[in-house]
């Protein structure tokens, strides 16, 4: 029997029993056929992951036959088709040195469903545990990442691939606050052009000894945007930090940046270019300008507050007529 005839029959039966049953049957049909949570690409498939009720022995095509691990779902996707992986509420997955995640299918989205403590979460239980983005055009949305060991080298690593979007994600304080931490919460390796990091939250205890930065550039990337993020904690380098080669055309806007006291909010390699605007930084530095170390970028309306109860002052001198 064709899918169409099966649906028709289910609908007729359900419809005669009232709208609630019809609605339920309809949603069940769409869930069974992978369409209840529509794939982001419009024509791809949806996949489901649920550590609580799923199994890697399932087919992952419906929420009640979800995989248990995200890697299994990634392996099931087809690249560049618009496939979406949905992580169900309460999903919690432990990563280790040998059990890492490699998002290696281009154009795949991974989206968490749920809020608060039900937001899907990955725990990093070993210093070498990692969530790698290894192919272009991938999206991560509404996922929590929590270090469960001291000095986890990197949380999410973008491996020099382009057009990554990381949105509404939460890099949490360590499982044991002050002991467990990411050294770098997100690392962008060279060539991670057009990356967007948007509306993400980063926390680490101010007593952390190992956290260096929330977002680390380790080489030349072009046109990266970081916006709407809230980054607070004991970052010993800077909230947004840079090593390797200068970056170009970066745009950093509308972020709250509170690093370890006496450290800058943003520190980019000399000659990095771009625009830094509407950021607020808090840290006790010698000068307000020290809050943003980025000698090749234009700045608009960035404010720095050195001391509690002081109102943030402009982090750079305002431009004036100079003939």
């Amino acid at each position: 029997m064709s899918n169409q005839r099966r649906l028709m029959r289910a609908l007729h039966r359900a419809h005669d029993n009232g709208p609630a049953q019809a609605y339920g049957a309809l949603m069940q049909w769409f869930a069974t056929n992978g369409g209840y949570y529509p794939p982001q690409g419009g024509i791809g498939l949806s996949w489901y992951v649920d550590s609580n009720n799923g199994s890697d022995g399932y087919d992952g095509k419906t929420s009640d036959r979800a995989f248990a691990t995200v890697q299994k779902a990634i392996d099931a996707t087809t690249a560049d088709r618009g496939d979406t992986i949905y992580l169900l509420p309460g999903h919690n997955e432990n990563l280790s040195a040998t059990n890492t995640v490699d998002l290696n299918k281009a154009g795949v989205a991974i989206i968490g469903i749920g809020w608060g403590g039900r937001t899907p979460r990955f725990d990093f239980d070993h210093a070498d545990a990692i969530f790698e983005i290894d192919d272009s055009d991938c999206l991560l949305k509404n996922i929590r990442f929590m270090p469960g060991a001291a000095t986890v080298t990197v949380g999410v690593e973008i491996e020099g691939v382009v057009n990554t979007v990381i949105e509404d994600c939460y890099f949490m304080d360590g499982e044991v606050s002050g002991t467990d931490e990411f050294i770098e919460s997100i690392e962008l390796e060279a060539g991670s052009d057009n990356t967007i990091i948007r509306n993400c939250k980063f926390r680490v205890s101010t007593s952390s000894n190992g956290a260096v930065s929330a977002i680390m550039f380790t080489g030349l990337s072009d046109r990266v945007a970081i916006e709407g993020c809230d980054i607070q904690g004991g970052y010993s380098g800077a909230c947004i930090y840079h090593d390797g080669a200068a970056i170009t055309n970066v745009r950093i806007r509308d972020n709250l940046l509170v690093p370890k006291d006496t450290e800058p909010g943003i520190e980019l390699i000399t000659a990095s270019t771009g625009i830094i605007e509407y950021n607020r930084t808090c840290s006790n530095l010698t000068t307000l300008a020290g809050a943003i170390v980025a000698d090749g970028v234009y700045a608009f309306e960035n404010y720095h507050s050195e001391t509690a109860t002081e109102n943030g002052g402009l982090a750079r001198t305002a431009s004036v007529d100079d003939g």
Binding site: S63, I113, G116, G117, R118, A308, T309, N311, G312
Partner: protein, 324 residues
Amino acid sequence: MSSDRTRLDKKMQRAFSVPMATQAKEVVKSWNSNGTFFPPMGPGQSWFVDSENGAATNSGKTNDLAVITIQAAITLATANNGDVIYVMPGHNEALSDSVLCEMSKAGVAIIGVGFGAQKPRIDFDHADAVFQITANDCMVKNIAFRASVTAVTVGVEIDGGVTGTIIDGCDWIDGEDGAGVDEFIESLEVEAACNNTIIRNCTFREHASAAHATSAIMLTGASDDVLIEGCEICGPYSTACITNDGAAQTNIRIRDCLLIPADTKLGIDLLTGSTGVIEDVRIASNLATLLGSLDADGCYFFNALNCEVVTETGGAIGGTSADD
């Protein structure tokens, strides 16, 4: 019923000629027009509450089989299942000292449907009536709360140790009494260890003559990482619009709020040692100093302004950071 079936058949046959996503859109549109498409936020169940058209004996599973109280729907919901309780437009429910509302199922959302006067409303008909949140990760969205007697102790109470609460788009409206004697003493109380609470885009109002209103948002113990943003708080609050008692807050963030307490009172009054960031807040109150309108000695400020007198424009609270 048969004509409905025929219409549905036609829609489905038409929809089958296009991809899956379009099919879903088409069918959802059809259901939506019949008023029954309210999706759960995950794989959970939707429940419906309607004081006007519901019945206590209904199943609560559709809007035409709605139950009549939110508490009844909470009882039906399953914790940590992604369940959503939709409260229908025009719903009006009264709480008393014996009829309370306790949101005791973790991970449940209560979402009001409707706007303006149709926004679902809960009335507090006794000083001890209260809407309690006693489980983690709950959401309350687009609900109005109204005091209907004098000195209601607390409107909404987030119980101690409950984390991840989201209160979004809710209104605490003027008390019922036209002379302005009905009010909440504390509109919203956040007890100790309510970490990661979010209070967003809410309005708090009290009549100018509400004599017992102390504060709109009261933080009664140490909580971490509380976010208050986009709120408008206007009333004769005798302590402050946002008040902290008991123990200091850590990493609080208050942003983009308009705060108008009783004149000469504070917009924000946090305990000494509270840490966090306060940004883009506007306070209107006539104090001896601008800084007096914002008592938060462990917080950084950005663009925090106080306007003391009408016709003046708000000035910066606290000295501006400078090179040192």
